[in-house]
Symmetry: C2
DNA sequence: CTAATTGTTCAATTTTATGCAACAATGATG
DNA sequence: CATCATTGTTGCATAAAATTGAACAATTAG
């Protein structure tokens, strides 16, 4: 027996003052409404309504139960609607996990802008380069979105591309003067390379595309770190050549603190992904944030796939 | 979909931290519990649980919904149990309608005694001789029990005999001296009779049983009233012969203010009935009251059907 | 008293809930 | 790093309800 339904019938009958009109208001048969009341009375072991063919009155227990029903329905109105609203209206807390360097350099600005647009939304931004381990993070660490560079094999997540980021090979002029700037990708193997350890082990192989096509070079990781900021510092200090997102070194390239290596070759651009659980419906806060971030980055010309 | 059931599943899953053990605790299959959560999420349009095969975590909306569920369940515990308890434990208010004379002379004492035994019970005693009109009174006037002398044709009520009351024919010695005491039932037709107008029109015919068997006499209502107290006063004042419950005139008969008329004949004893709605279960307060009243009256020798 | 209206009961029918088995997915283990 | 046990999900057959329409009982208005 569906108690919610029987309760609804009971309330309706009392309000309308009759089984017949109560039933018609609910779009049910009199027979069923009668059964509902009977079931309810059997369940409670108490008579709720004193009824004759012409008249209807609540018993004392009926009055108490009516109050209870109305209270429950009022709470459903309140709580369920509030929850339901989060489907279309961002609310609550948005928990984002993002790479350290990207977070520190840019995402924090984007997040602040987003927060201003969503005063009802609390935002929690965590910056870590912990490799993403599948849906585990969402469940265990209570995350809403994870931003990352590498794709996942997870089947129950959605990976949405935010932008395609430009990567560059660069080193300090001092290092290049000292060690000699490489002329071919293959020459990189003899150089001191600064490697991001978090972009999968695959990346100890660097891929470049030039006039001769795509080339893979296995490089020697003279120095490795889990943050582009560290790699940038190492490069500026003349420790070697690094492969790094362009956004991390724009200032250095402009000021001449760093120089592009192998300028005739290009480093493969990499997508930046927003990963979130695959659910029947995506929470509005997640959707809104991903949209915002995408627009924010494209507007600032982060995306090499888009003209900007 | 039974929302109470799905809510129960949801709470259980969260508490146990797993669909599997949650389902087994509820005695349901994992499949069903999984459906319950899905239905709930579809209903709310929101994901409640971030789940992977090894781990389980509430989303923000899930946390809010869990609170809601627990609140509702807590209220069910409280309210429903309180209501259910009235089945076995008298509580609330007991509303009794009784004939004026009986109420004034005896019932009020009985009710006071009952009230002392039931401190949690509020009692409302209304004394009226309004003829009982069927289940109407229970519904319209919000009554629990009606005490009366005449049986009803109502089919949806229970009529429980409290006691069988002795009735007597009596008059003042002064009247009998003046008008002559009747020797036969038939002689009553020539007397001035004091009639209770509320004991149905039938009662203008008085029935007596004597050595010659049962006799019916159509009497002349020289005086009629809706209360035995009034009839008693009239009789004491010498207005004529009245048929009256013995309980109303015990003192007068003892003191000699009134005398039995036709002592060799007997007035048919009449049952005093407690009438209450026919429900699947009778409220404890009604049951307790009827039981108490029955015992109380038998103890005081009101019942001619019982030795005492 | 009659008749119309109301609540209830009982049958049949539709709908829904439920469990089993196969499946997909994930993470612990060696 | 691959394997496998474990977990949540899905499809399908079945069992269990909810639901209705019609006959019924009961009550009151005219």
């Amino acid at each position: 027996m569906d108690r919610f339904r029987t309760m609804e019938s009971f309330v309706r009958v009392v309000r309308s003052g009759s089984f017949t009109v109560g039933a018609s208001q609910l779009g049910l048969s009199r027979a069923l409404v009668s059964r509902h009341i009977s079931d309810l009375e059997a369940h409670l072991g108490v008579r709720l309504l004193n009824r004759s063919t012409r008249s209807l009155a609540l018993t004392e227990e009926g009055t108490a139960y009516l109050e209870f029903c109305e209270k429950v329905f009022r709470e459903i109105e309140t709580s369920e609607l509030a929850i339901r609203r989060t489907r279309t209206e961002p609310a609550g807390t948005l928990k984002v996990l993002a790479p350290k360097s990207f977070g520190a350099l840019h995402l924090s600005d984007a997040v602040v802008g987003f927060a201003k647009l969503q005063p009802r939304l609390r935002i929690s931004l965590m910056l870590e380069n912990t490799p993403y381990r599948g849906t585990y993070d969402f469940a265990e660490r209570d995350l809403d979105v994870v931003l990352c560079f590498s794709t996942m094999r997870g089947a129950s997540v959605i990976e949405e591309k935010i932008v395609t980021l430009d990567w560059v090979l660069c080193a300090s002029p001092e290092y290049l003067a000292r060690s000699g700037a490489p002329n071919t990708p293959a020459a990189l193997a003899d150089h001191s390379c600064l490697v991001h350890i978090n972009v999968q082990p695959i990346d100890v192989v660097w891929r470049l595309s030039g006039p001769e096509g795509s080339v893979s070079v296995k490089v020697r990781a003279a120095f490795s770190a889990d943050s582009s900021l560290t790699l940038r510092k190492a490069a500026v200090a003349g420790l070697g050549i690094t492969m790094i997102p362009r956004y991390a070194v724009t200032d250095e390239l402009a000021s001449g603190a760093l120089e592009i290596v192998l300028p005739r070759h290009k480093v493969a651009a990499r997508p930046m992904l927003a990963v979130y659980p695959k659910a029947v419906v995506t929470p509005a806060k997640v959707q809104a944030f991903v949209e915002y971030l995408k627009a924010w980055m494209i507007e600032r010309s982060f995306d090499v796939a888009q003209p900007g």
